[in-house]
Symmetry: C2
Subunit: 289 residues, 2 copies
């Protein structure tokens, strides 16, 4: 095929990039949500829109898409019942749907083996060993996502209520949080009742600030998260036998918190998930001439 | 007034009882949900329906309600912005709205001082000391309700996913839970995504069974809950200076788990919340002749 296309489709944004068969970038496009599990119809719409925008940006007509090999990394692809069926409804010569984690790993480590930890609002982990993929975590806010901003934020709010009730000593972090709710625990409880994971995660910056000031509760919360993230990375990397890349909004924070024996195996990501998808599309196009 | 009426209005059921001014029970009625915070209109409907049913059961016409002093213990009364205003829309000669916790305490301890712990799907605590009310906990599933069936159930599911991921050893409890989801963690995660507190609480019976068999994770979960419940009860009772009654679906379980020094202060509830509401109405009627 003449062109390759990569798509990085997340829960809020879908990004697409089109390139020549040998990987020269021609154009980019963006669109709205593309989680294929939570809203497949919207996902298809966003993918098509972002791909058309990329064509326009490249000075190509939409017909170019029929000459395009696409790799799409989509949030929710692991939970969707028929990604292959959905791929066939897309306007590309061929399309492969994988999870957004797979293209993130490809972006971070290239075609080789390695481990990624994506730690932001949620948390999840993946390894490629001898070409095989291994997933860990990513089970969602309720019974998973340990070490994520959402979980650590929720824990901080819980501690603030315990302190209000007199079951813990008040500390700078819990005082700060209670003040944000006008020292009215009912307002905090009301907030928590309808809060989404990203709302809990918004308390992460102040947790990190108090942790830096050696405030003991903040350190305790961060340590709990670090213990989980470290165990996950150790298990997937066979104790550091594979390179590890940390991605997501909390990657820098964890870079500082992880124990030194693990930190030595951490490498910077080679590139981002969208480039990972493009690289996979290029490989796929080359292997099917 | 000629009659007194008590109402116990919870999130799923509303119960009413009408009696003579000196407390002789005449009739009972039940209706649907009566949480005045989450749905005030439905609450008023349920209260009126249950009160009318109680009249019918007593062989009275609805006009009797105009000769009735009512005390209504309603879930959500602490969060509603204007319980007095709402009370005036009800068909009674006079109506006092309190939380369902207040009538539960009245039922359990009579007019005297005491502490109650309500531990079931959620958890919350209350004390009456020298006629003053003190609340503790009850902040809801997300950042509160420690020691409740919902929280302990959620923790068990979390541990099952950690065991599936290889971050914990599998144990009889986590094996049991994973089997319930056909050993497919995606099914568990999917369940957790939409589960309500009562759905998590449904795992409590098997946690208790494995705890009885001395299975270490189950014991650990129960111990964590017990630590919280014990601290709450100690704090509110001034280390046992007030009698403590345990109510709710997990009260028997906690009766067994609580440490002996606390257990000695636990007394059986004198009667239930509906009788508590009736007793309060009788007292109120007697004090306003």
């Amino acid at each position: 095929m003449d062109y390759i296309l990569g798509v990085d489709g997340g829960g809020t944004t879908c990004r697409a990039a089109i390139a020549t068969a040998d990987g020269r970038l021609l154009g980019r496009g963006t669109a709205g949500p593309a989680n294929i599990y939570s809203d497949p119809a919207q996902s298809v719409k966003s993918i098509s829109f972002a791909a058309n925008e990329a064509c326009k940006d490249a000075g190509l007509t939409e017909e170019a898409l029929q000459q395009t090999v696409a790799v799409l990394g989509l949030a929710g692809a692991n939970a969707h019942h028929d990604p292959e069926g959905l791929a066939q409804t897309l306007p590309f010569a061929s399309a492969q749907i994988v999870t957004d984690t797979v293209i993130a790993l490809e972006g971070a480590h290239g075609a080789g083996d390695g481990v990624i930890g994506i730690v932001g609002t949620g948390s999840n982990f993946m390894a490629r060993k001898g070409g095989q993929h291994y997933y860990l975590g990513g089970w969602g806010f309720h019974c998973g996502d340990q070490g994520s901003g959402a979980k650590m934020g929720e824990r901080a709010l819980e501690e603030a209520l315990l302190a209000h009730d007199g079951l813990r000593r008040l500390c700078p972090l819990t005082e700060h949080i209670l003040r944000q709710f006008d020292d009215d625990p009912r307002k905090l409880s009301e907030f928590a009742r309808s809060a989404k994971p990203k709302d809990f995660a918004e308390f992460m910056p102040i947790i990190l600030i108090y942790a830096q000031q050696q405030s003991s509760l903040a350190l305790d919360i961060v340590e709990e998260g670090t213990t989980y993230v470290a165990s996950a990375l150790r298990l997937l990397s066979d104790d550091g036998k594979l390179p590890i890349a940390l991605l997501g909004g909390l990657s820098q924070a964890y870079d500082a918190f992880l124990p030194p024996d693990l930190k030595q195996f951490i490498v910077p990501a080679k590139s981002d998930a969208l480039h990972g998808a493009l690289a996979m599309a290029e490989r796929q196009n080359a292997s099917n001439p």
